[in-house]
């Protein structure tokens, strides 16, 4: 009969070998990370380290993992210090990592940095190119996997906030070699059909390898070229992809994207109502003010007692008239006085008055005789007396001179 041992015994033996080797207790290893997984609940990290020809399974427990000061990702070259031991249950040996350091740029990262720099220089991430999101989205386009968590998350928010938005999905794979082309084509189709007001492009969380499609040149170009605004929602909070940089808005998660995209209809409706109320109040104020002004004007006496105004005017006229009268009267009196004076003076000087004192006017043919030369002997002259007039013949020019 062949000598045999149990599986457990064999594993135990191997374990003994491994743990007996001093070197395997503590060494530094360089390798490329792959299949990296961090379990949120336990905090443990599981990954594979590989080089061109080989690979080894690794685990880093929470107690050590939480001390890391960088975020490990697939494709990264790292240095790991640890020990090798046997995981008997699965019959495999593993590296139990104590420390991990980035070894400088891993392939994938290098590639990514190069692409990012190149596309940035070409202007694909320019802020000026970015469009604002529409305020009301009635038709929402989504480019993602039909089976993925992203779609479910988005639809959940849509339903909660605005059940009435029309959602149009273009299915595409979100990782793998076909993904970049499918994502880009999805965006282009939506742009060509003009079905939607806004596009969300994205996927749920994953490793750097998983998200690489959203770092591809095809996707960046399609996002940039979209005339419909695009929200890029790839992975989790800390994941940034080039599509995020090219998009009009980056959302940390698909849920957040939906919250940005889909307006809270109730909030907008209540804002509109408040606007209506404010307009009514403003108009009401204006009307009140105008009517108050009107009231104040109408309160003036002229409207309630128009006669009063007339009476005022009447009084004014009377006063003026009286004044005028008086002026005229006194004026007239003055004139009359002057006239009387003048008349008296005139009267005194009147030749007729002189006649009453005994003087006579001698005239011939209308000419008053003042000189004896003016008449000849035998001529007739008129003598005008105070009372009556005589026709007299000149007898001689030797009359008796006047002697009182």
């Amino acid at each position: 009969m062949q000598e045999y041992i149990s599986v457990s015994a064999l594993n135990s033996y191997i374990e003994g070998l491994l743990e007996g080797d001093l070197f395997l207790r503590n060494f530094w290893l360089k390798g490329e990370l792959s299949g990296f997984k961090l379990y949120q609940q336990s905090g443990h990290m599981y990954f594979t380290l590989k080089d061109a020809d080989s690979a080894i399974s690794c685990v880093m427990f929470k107690s050590r993992a939480r001390l890391l000061d960088f975020k490990p990702g697939d494709g990264m070259e790292v240095l790991v210090r640890g020990a090798v031991s046997l995981f008997a249950r699965q019959g495999k040996y593993q590296l139990y990592a104590e420390e991990m350091l980035p070894f400088g740029a891993g392939d994938l990262y290098l590639q990514l940095e190069k692409t990012k720099a190149r596309l940035q220089a070409l202007g694909y991430f320019d802020p000026e190119h970015k469009k604002p999101l529409p305020r009301v989205v009635n038709r929402l386009g989504i480019v993602t996997s039909q089976d993925g968590a992203a779609l479910r998350d988005i639809l959940k928010v849509v339903r909660e906030r605005h059940a009435r938005v029309n959602v149009v999905l273009v299915h595409s794979s979100v990782q793998g070699t076909e993904a970049p082309l499918e994502i880009a084509r999805g965006i282009e189709i939506l742009n060509g059909q003009d079905y939607v007001d806004l596009i969300i492009v994205g996927r749920g969380g994953g490793s750097l390898e998983d998200l690489m499609a959203f770092n591809s040149e095809e996707v960046v170009k399609a996002v940039y070229a979209s005339h419909i605004p695009i929200i890029s929602a790839v992975g989790h909070e800390v994941d940034f992809t080039l599509s995020d940089l090219a998009a009009d808005i980056r959302a940390a998660t698909p849920t957040q994207a939906a919250q940005l995209a889909v307006p809270d209809v109730a909030a907008i409706e209540s804002a509109l109502q408040s606007y209506e109320q404010r307009m009514q109040r403003a108009l009401g104020k204006k009307l009140n003010y105008s009517s108050e002004m009107l009231d104040r004007i109408m309160m003036r006496r002229i409207w309630s007692q128009p006669a009063a105004l007339l009476a005022d005017r009447q009084k004014q006229i009377e006063t003026l008239a009286k004044g005028l009268q008086q002026t005229i009267v006194s004026e007239m009196q003055t004139r009359q006085q002057r006239l009387a004076l003048a008349a008296t003076a005139l009267d005194k000087l009147s030749p007729l008055k002189v006649l009453s004192r005994g003087y006579a006017i001698v005239s011939r043919a209308g000419v008053v005789i003042k000189d004896e030369e003016q008449v000849g002997i035998g001529e007739l002259v008129d003598v005008i007396l105070h009372q009556g007039s005589l026709q007299v013949r000149v007898e001689s020019k030797e009359g008796t001179p006047w002697k009182p």
Binding site: N138, R139, L151, L155, I189, E276, R278, A282
Partner: protein, 77 residues
Amino acid sequence: METMSFEEALRQLEDILSMLESGELELEQSLRLFQSGMELSVYCQQLLKEAEGRIQKLVQKPEGEVVLMELIMEEIE
């Protein structure tokens, strides 16, 4: 107004609101703007009600044709 976008209508409404609240307009202007404002508000509310809430899938056939189909989702929770 039939083809105005929601943004445009809302912007005009907000302009009208601030003019009315400034109190510097003539009474007649105030009345006219108030009327326009209310019309814009009604228009905006109409736009909000337009979408139907459908969920559809856009598919490009091999021949290049693009087709809209209903999307059956199980359990969107």
